[in-house]
């Protein structure tokens, strides 16, 4: 019996020839991530272990992105703790505000996480790096603090579920719609403890940005990790960024999957998740008269260049509805700068959007876009739990950037064709292919 890509990466990091689902292994880590919310706890636990030095100051990534730029005095104290620890330990990959980005967009962009890596992070969306053909998963502060001392951690080898998506995607449909569709199909615990592997022609045809949106939300189905076999697009993405060797793993043809789901891309409409679970998914065409107070475009799920291009393509020459606040958060400074160069930021600002420096703020109801009682938002983020974006009686709907941008114009949740003509998609697609 062959192995899946996930099993191969875990075996390689455990120093074993073979691993099997259910087995607990001690694994070497290639990188560890923490942010301003989780690092303070990790640092405290690291000190309690009694270790003086982190296992490798080049392999620890510290990103103040949650309540940064500092929201208030207690958040400023947490960011300060993170910063002081980084300087004390000589941590090379500490990212200060102004050079910072949302962690799960930043680390791949900087070439810090690579194909074949095993990464753990004190943030649940650490599963994002699976889009590069890496194994990555979220842990808590204590697990991370101990790994900072030991350079390794324990993992239970997950069984894998495969999602094969073939066919051609419909206009304005991107990675986010695919993953929302899948979560709607299997539920928020449909992949509990399991590795989700995404394959098929429609996945191979996606950009890296869209692939990151998919693996980012594996956790929203309870998944331990999400992964896509690396190909020529992955190679093109990492070639210019990597500063150390990396390895492409592929699943064996006779690898064992707990289940294989076959999906047809044409059947995946633009998706919207209704409150209060990411699995509460409908096609946008089934939604009527849901008026909005706020629209958020950004986050570790959809704050990348492709997302901003889609939003700008729809908002070009349009105005945000008078009753709606549109907030746009490019995920990293590099994405922000590129969006400036391409004129996307100008388009967004002219439409009436507020464009902010990278931060997780609004996604988790931290700052810069918190909802009042009874308010309703549509966001390209990843969670719509009760109180996620503010008051426990506020509501969050989730979608991709196309529906979000169109809805900001309409003032209610609508598909793009309600605000832009079909030529808009044709022109956008032609531009993408250039």
């Amino acid at each position: 019996m062959g192995m899946t890509i996930t099993e191969k990466i875990l075996a390689a990091h455990a120093g074993l020839d073979k691993v099997e689902p259910g087995e607990i292994v001690q694994v070497r880590v290639d990188g560890l991530l923490a942010n301003d919310v989780t690092a303070p706890g990790a640092i405290e636990q690291f000190r309690l272990v009694g270790s003086q030095k982190v296992f490798d100051p080049d392999r620890i990534f510290l990103v103040p992105d949650h309540f940064a730029p500092n929201r208030d005095i207690p958040s400023a104290e947490q960011c300060k703790l993170l910063r002081e620890f980084a300087y004390e330990q000589g941590i090379t990959n500490y990212f200060e505000v102004g050079r910072m980005g949302i962690e799960h967009a930043l680390l791949p962009e900087e070439g810090l996480v690579l194909p074949g890596d095993l990464i753990i992070g004190a943030d649940s969306h650490t599963c994002t790096y699976g889009a590069l053909g890496a194994f990555s998963t979220g842990v808590g502060s204590t697990d991370l603090g101990v790994a900072m001392a030991l350079g390794e951690t324990w993992l239970k080898v997950p069984s894998s579920i495969k999602f094969v998506v073939n066919g051609t995607l419909n206009p304005w449909v991107f990675g986010k719609d695919i993953i929302l569709y899948i979560i709607g199909m299997i539920g928020v615990d449909g992949a509990l403890y399991k590795a989700m592997e995404f394959a098929g022609e429609a996945i191979r045809n996606l950009s890296m940005d869209s692939r990151f949106s998919i693996t980012n939300m594996a956790i929203e189905a309870g998944g331990k990790s999400g992964i896509i076999e690396p190909d020529e697009k992955t190679a093109a993405y990492v070639e210019a960024r990597a500063k150390r060797p990396y390895k492409f793993y592929q699943s064996d043809p006779d690898a064992n999957y707990e289940k294989v789901h076959s999906l047809q891309a044409e059947k995946i409409d633009l998706q919207v998740a209704l409150p209060h679970l990411p699995s509460n998914v409908r096609s946008v065409y089934q939604i009527n008269d849901v008026e909005l107070d706020q629209v958020v475009i950004g986050s570790c799920t959809n704050g990348r260049l492709e997302d901003l291009r889609v939003a700008a393509a729809i908002l070009n020459g349009k105005k945000v509805h008078p009753k709606v606040r549109l907030l746009v958060f490019p995920a990293t400074q590099k994405i922000y700068l590129q969006a400036l160069k391409e004129g996307l930021i100008q388009t967004l600002v002219e439409s009436g959007a507020a464009v902010s420096t990278p931060t997780c703020g609004p996604c988790l109801g931290g700052h810069s876009g918190v909802l009042a009682k009874g308010e309703r938002a549509l966001a390209t983020t990843n969670r719509n739990f009760i109180g996620r974006m503010g008051h426990s009686e506020s509501e969050v709907y989730l979608s991709g950037p196309a529906v979000a941008a169109a809805s900001a114009v309409a003032g209610r949740i609508v598909p793009p064709e309600e605000v832009v003509p079909p030529e808009r998609w044709r022109d956008f697609k032609n531009k993408l292919e250039e």
Partner: protein, 167 residues
């Protein structure tokens, strides 16, 4: 490790934003966090949170964020143990690491009523409903996790390992 207490029930997919909203994540102090624990379930539910209670949840308890503040806040409320049909995986690891006793037993969750008095023996995975007298066998912890629990948590386990390596 044996716990006895009255059952307080919650449903399925109780997420970490409901357990402790992100805006309060500026401390790791159990008591400070406990003030906002389960805010998303409303004040009527919060009034029922009594020290020594045993929280019983349906599937996927603790889904969502990796915040360790979630089990810390529950511990801060004085909840002695959480029994669920299933746990989200990061919450499961975090609970063990910070020493919040957790047990997985779907059969028990199905049959128990709110307010029942129950006894839980953690490492044996034995749950007794003291009202009905019925006993249940929970899903056992893998041997490696028993090692961590016996060591008194992951940090103590790692300390021992580092000492061994020094020798």
């Amino acid at each position: 490790m044996v716990f006895e207490g009255q059952v307080l029930k919650v449903g399925k997919n109780i997420d970490t934003d409901v357990i402790i909203p992100a805006r309060y994540l500026v401390t790791f102090d159990p008591l400070e966090l406990s003030v906002h624990c389960f805010e998303g379930l409303g004040e009527d539910f919060r009034a029922k949170l009594k020290p020594g209670s045993i929280l019983v949840a349906e599937e996927n308890f603790g889904c969502g964020s990796s915040r360790e503040h979630a089990p810390i806040a529950i511990k801060g409320c004085g909840i002695s143990c959480v029994i669920a049909s299933s746990f989200a995986r990061i919450f499961y690891r975090n609970a063990i690491n910070i020493g919040l006793p957790i047990v997985e037993c779907p059969e028990f969750v199905k049959e128990v009523q709110e307010g029942d008095k129950v006894a839980v023996s953690l490492l044996e995975g034995k749950i007794t409903n003291l009202k009905s007298g019925k006993t249940y066998q929970a899903k056992p912890f893998p041997p490696f996790l028993v090692e961590i629990i016996r060591a008194g948590g992951l940090v103590n386990w790692a300390k021992k390992r580092l000492k061994k390596e020094e020798k």
